[in-house]
């Protein structure tokens, strides 16, 4: 704010606001979870592989789990490389 109704800084994008937003989002997750990474993910992965193996013959490294956190939703993306046809089954599942 300035007495003369203009400020030299006004032309600049406010990166401090970006910093604040990023931190709020990250810390909300870290505090809620006790960590940024839900601890069940490794186990979830093992269970998924076990279930998938009942039907399809996949190796450990053909199952890939990714997560992306956003303001309102977090998404968990599970990619499975199917052996023979070399096609990818993509099953994004919403979490919370």
């Amino acid at each position: 704010m300035s007495l003369f109704g203009f400020s030299l800084n006004r032309r600049r994008p406010k990166t401090a606001q970006t910093a604040r937003d990023r931190l709020q989002l990250l810390l909300a997750h870290e505090r809620g979870q006790g960590s940024g990474t839900p601890d069940y993910l490794p186990q979830l992965q093992n269970d998924l592989i076990a279930v998938i193996r009942k039907y399809i013959d996949v190796a450990d490294d053909e199952v890939d789990i990714r997560m992306e956190r956003d303001d309102d939703v977090s998404s968990l993306e599970i990619n499975i490389d199917l052996p023979s046809a070399e096609e990818k089954a993509e099953k994004p599942a919403k979490k919370r």
């Binding site: 990166t15 970006t18 940024g36 990474t37 993910l41 490794p42 490294d61 789990i65 997560m67 992306e68």
Partner: protein, 282 residues
């Protein structure tokens, strides 16, 4: 900004960014250097060794994409491929985040070695962002290094700690213990350099620091407002808007790659009133 593709076997070179003293600019430098190498077309991964105080992810701007981490990989809970985060700006750049909940005891020498060996198969440069101090975490970050960037501020305690770290690099690393290989190639990166304060006699000069530490200089990074800006938005300063720090980091990356370029002292010149009124020259 060309990204050339390389067909040859990866270089597999391990570079530790270390300092002893905390808060001197290791993470800022690790982010900038790894992005700079990736920009030059080298497949690069940057690893956060600061277990329990994860920060590299924020500086790189990938904090929302962390699922598995370095510790998960060491303990066999996840595969390396799953923990590596691919940078959204450069397809040659990857980040291996650390755990925010565990402590340094979760790192084992065998575990670190196994991960580094796997990374060497695929990457040209493996940049290790060391925690502060000279304890276990810092020692493991440097143990397998081929090269070291010793981040130093022109200030007494930082220079003293750098000297201590240089001692560890020449005694407590695999290269030192083996004896038959070349020692770790260590160079100083002088950061938060403030020419104004040097001119006023308030800060040690580059020559003062180099004379004391007696190792070659990798670069001089000026104190720059661009560093805070870049960290706010989660972009390594070398990929952010042009700045004195960006130019200086680019020069340092070139020297790391073996180019012999003249040492120049960038400084952040705030335009004076005269320049603001009559436009900038130079």
């Amino acid at each position: 900004m060309t990204t050339q593709l390389k067909d040859e076997a990866p270089l597999g070179r391990i570079v530790v960014i270390t300092s002893g003293k905390g808060g001197v600019g290791k993470t800022t430098s690790a982010a900038a250097i790894s992005a700079g190498l990736a920009q030059q077309g080298y497949k690069t991964v940057v690893i956060d060794f600061d277990v329990g105080l994860r920060n590299l992810d924020m500086i790189m701007g990938c904090e929302r994409r962390v699922v598995f981490d370095f510790i998960n990989v060491i303990q066999g809970d996840a595969r390396l491929k799953q923990a590596l985060i691919k940078d959204k700006r450069l397809d040659t750049l990857f980040i291996l985040p650390t755990s925010q909940t565990r402590d340094k005891d979760a790192l084992t020498q065998e575990g670190v070695e196994a991960v580094l060996n796997e990374l060497k198969e695929e990457f040209d440069y493996i940049i290790c962002d060391s925690p502060a101090g000279i304890e276990r975490g810092a020692q493991l970050a440097m143990y397998f290094a081929d090269e070291a960037v010793v981040v130093t501020n022109p200030e007494v305690s930082s220079v003293r700690d750098s000297d201590r770290v240089l001692g560890l690099l020449s005694s407590k690393t695999q290269r030192a213990e083996k004896g038959d290989s070349d020692p770790v190639k260590a160079r100083v990166l002088l950061t938060r350099h403030d020419q104004g304060r040097i001119d006023r006699g308030e800060m040690m000069t580059v020559d003062d620091v180099l004379e004391i530490l007696a190792v070659p200089l990798l670069g001089i990074i000026p104190e720059s407002q661009a560093v805070l800006r870049a960290s706010n938005v989660g972009t390594p300063v070398i990929l952010d808007e042009p700045s004195s720090a960006q130019t200086a980091y680019k020069d340092a990356v070139s020297r790391l790659l073996g180019d012999d370029i003249e040492m120049r002292i960038e400084s952040e010149r705030k335009p004076g009133l005269f320049q603001r009124l009559f436009g900038r020259s130079a």
